[in-house]
């Protein structure tokens, strides 16, 4: 557990919980990023405007944080472009089919003690753990 960073994790968790609470308090909306991004892509959605504003805030966050000494690290992505594209497509299709991702189900839904969200979070976490175990240990990729 050499990489464990509990204090910065807790501070980040407070901010994520605060953002989710504020979006509900102010706009009455769930801070589920997959749903917000899907609405932002849908020109026929009435939610397109505020969704695009939320995504803009998310993308601008690293630029503003770099001023107070939190530089954005360069993302270490898989070498294979195929893995990147297939992974992205699965995340996009899967989160829409399952109605949420780590934020919508994992934070907002579980905070409401929603059975759907607890089941979804348990399944996507377990699946991802199995995929990492297979790809990093069993197959030696």
């Amino acid at each position: 557990m050499a990489n464990f960073t509990p204090i910065s994790a807790a501070i980040g968790g407070v901010l994520i919980g605060l953002a989710a609470t504020l979006l509900m308090l102010l706009n009455g909306r769930v801070a589920g990023i997959s749903g917000i991004f899907a609405a932002c892509l849908n020109v026929r959605s009435r939610d397109m405007g505020w969704s695009a504003a939320f995504i803009a805030g998310l993308v601008l966050a690293p630029l503003t944080a770099s001023f107070i000494g939190y530089p954005m690290p360069w993302p270490q992505m898989p070498d294979g472009w195929g893995t990147v594209v297939i992974g992205g497509a699965l995340v996009g299709f899967g989160t829409r089919l399952g109605g949420g991702c780590t934020s919508g189900h994992g934070v907002c839904g579980m905070a409401r003690l929603s059975t759907r969200s607890i089941v979804a979070t348990a399944i996507f976490m377990a699946t991802a753990i199995i995929i990492v175990a297979l790809s990093h240990h069993a197959l030696g990729v």
Binding site: A9, L22, L58, P75, V84, G88, V107, V132
Partner: protein, 148 residues
């Protein structure tokens, strides 16, 4: 005002992901890698975020209506069905392969990493494919009635 509120919420959410290190795919993989050098940070992020929003949602739910909207859109579905389970499995496979879920993927667009851009474009295509499929499924029954 809803636009400004959403922008500020997006910023705060993004700061949370950045400070906690959850924007880094390797940090997320470190959490998922329970058979390797396990890094429980993601569990702390989630537990604290759950605690804050759990209390926050309870306070918000006691209000008549949101500050800038006519009504709150709390999710209403309660049934655990096949799409929920299959969707969660597909998402889990993609998340485990790359270490990015939608929030960190979008925030990483700020780095202009070509691989992140490809991931987000593929994610958008996956979402678009789901919408086309949903719309086709809605049209199907009426068409068959016309044909029949």
């Amino acid at each position: 005002m809803q636009m400004l509120a959403a922008l500020v919420c997006g910023l705060i959410f993004g700061w949370g992901l950045l400070i906690s290190g959850m924007v880094e795919p390797t940090k997320v993989i470190g959490f998922l890698d329970i058979f390797g050098a396990w890094d429980p940070s993601l569990a702390v992020v989630m537990a604290v975020a759950l605690g804050v929003s759990g209390v926050g949602f309870r306070l918000v739910a006691a209000r008549q209506r949101p500050v800038f909207a006519a009504q709150s859109s709390w999710p209403t579905r309660t049934v655990v069905d096949a799409p929920l389970v299959i969707g969660a499995i597909l998402f889990g496979v993609g998340w485990g392969l790359v270490g990015l879920c939608p929030g960190p993927a979008l925030e990483n667009l700020a780095t202009l990493s070509p691989r992140v851009i490809a991931f987000v474009v593929a994610m958008a295509c996956g979402m678009g494919l789901h919408r086309l499929w949903q719309e086709a499924a809605v049209r199907q029954p009426t068409e068959s009635i016309v044909d029949g």
